[in-house]
């Protein structure tokens, strides 16, 4: 039986990318800045979100999509208690959020009137890097106890970042964390990346992060075309 070669040349995750573009269009139509918040488990994503809501919610209307692999609402409850709308997404054991899950979560939210939508991805430094959600900015929360070698071990996720937070800097005196080595690994993957060392526990350094985020939200709201940046970011 003779076979015939059919050229395809299609990105394997192109279906996800297409849906991410639709998500982006929905955010842009509502003039909402979308943040994809990435981290390994326990780095402090939820602590940062709660801090951010507490600091910015008078000026910015914020909603949060909470991605979790297990059907627990611990994080969503904390976010609701801090005063923001929260939608819980259970990935059913999947290691990452994808554009379909985020599209479904949009339906449970009122995007109009929001300024900022934070999507808390599943704690994982590998898989979320491959799945675009349609958000505008990728922000990673690294933390001191994880160790300084993470940019070297997970280059994929560090390459696609728009901002990097180093949380738990109050632990620096107690932990062997080589900040120069960490910065060097980041710099080579993502030169000039906005970097915010801070402690969600003590509040040290959080001010600079809040200012940056407010600036991003304002820029997004007033830019005529919020779709200037690319979905793959």
């Amino acid at each position: 039986m003779t076979t015939q070669r059919i050229p395809v040349v299609e990105k394997i995750l192109s279906a996800n990318d297409r849906l991410a573009e639709q998500n982006r269009a929905r955010l842009d139509a509502a003039r909402v800045l979308g943040i994809n918040l990435l981290a390994s488990p326990g780095a402090g994503k939820t602590s940062l979100i709660v801090r951010t809501i507490q600091a910015l919610s008078p000026q910015l209307k914020i909603a949060v999509i909470e991605g979790d692999t297990a059907p627990v609402t611990i994080d969503a409850d904390k976010v609701s208690a801090a005063g923001a709308a929260a939608v819980q997404v259970n990935t059913g054991g999947e290691c990452h959020l994808d554009a379909v899950m985020v599209a479904n979560a949009f339906n449970a939210l009122t995007l109009d009137g929001l300024d900022l939508l934070i999507v808390e991805n599943v704690g994982n430094l590998i898989c979320p890097a491959a799945f675009a959600l349609g958000t505008h900015l990728n922000v990673l929360v690294a933390s001191v106890p994880e160790g300084a070698d993470k940019p070297y071990k997970y280059p994929g996720i560090y390459r696609g970042l728009d901002a990097l937070i180093l949380n738990k800097i109050d632990l620096l005196p107690y932990v062997d964390f080589d900040l120069d080595y960490f910065r060097r690994g980041v710099e080579i993957l993502n030169p000039g990346l906005s970097f915010f060392p801070l402690s969600c526990r003590t509040g040290e350094g959080v001010e600079a992060w809040m200012e940056w985020l407010q600036k991003q939200a304002a820029h997004h709201r007033f830019s005529a075309d919020g779709s200037a940046s690319t979905v793959g970011k």
Binding site: Q4, R5, I126, I188, P191
Partner: protein, 123 residues
Amino acid sequence: MHELAVTQSVLEIALRHAAPAGAVRITDVYLVIGQLSSIVDDSVQFYWDAISENTAAQGARLHFRRVPAELRCWDCNHRYSPNGEDLACPACGGLRVQVVAGDEFRVEAIDIEPVAAPAGEPP
């Protein structure tokens, strides 16, 4: 990582391109995977055998072409393959680098049987 989701996408892409070509069967699927894209071939093959059952792609062979990572130094233009964890340019020590290859993650082509085999012909 998420080999099931990846395999489902590969199947969807293969079936979508096979139908307009009049395929009765997909015999081979050619994937191009860069070194920087983490995926386990055996795991994809395992899921493939399970989810392609009762589709035109049942029994199709998956071919993985791996593309090594290649970086280019912005400072001295040197092209090199990264060695271990250090990504810095081996020629000038430069830290500003660009990924030239190794990012690939795509379905390159499929082989199909375009018409039904005549009765009696061995498969």
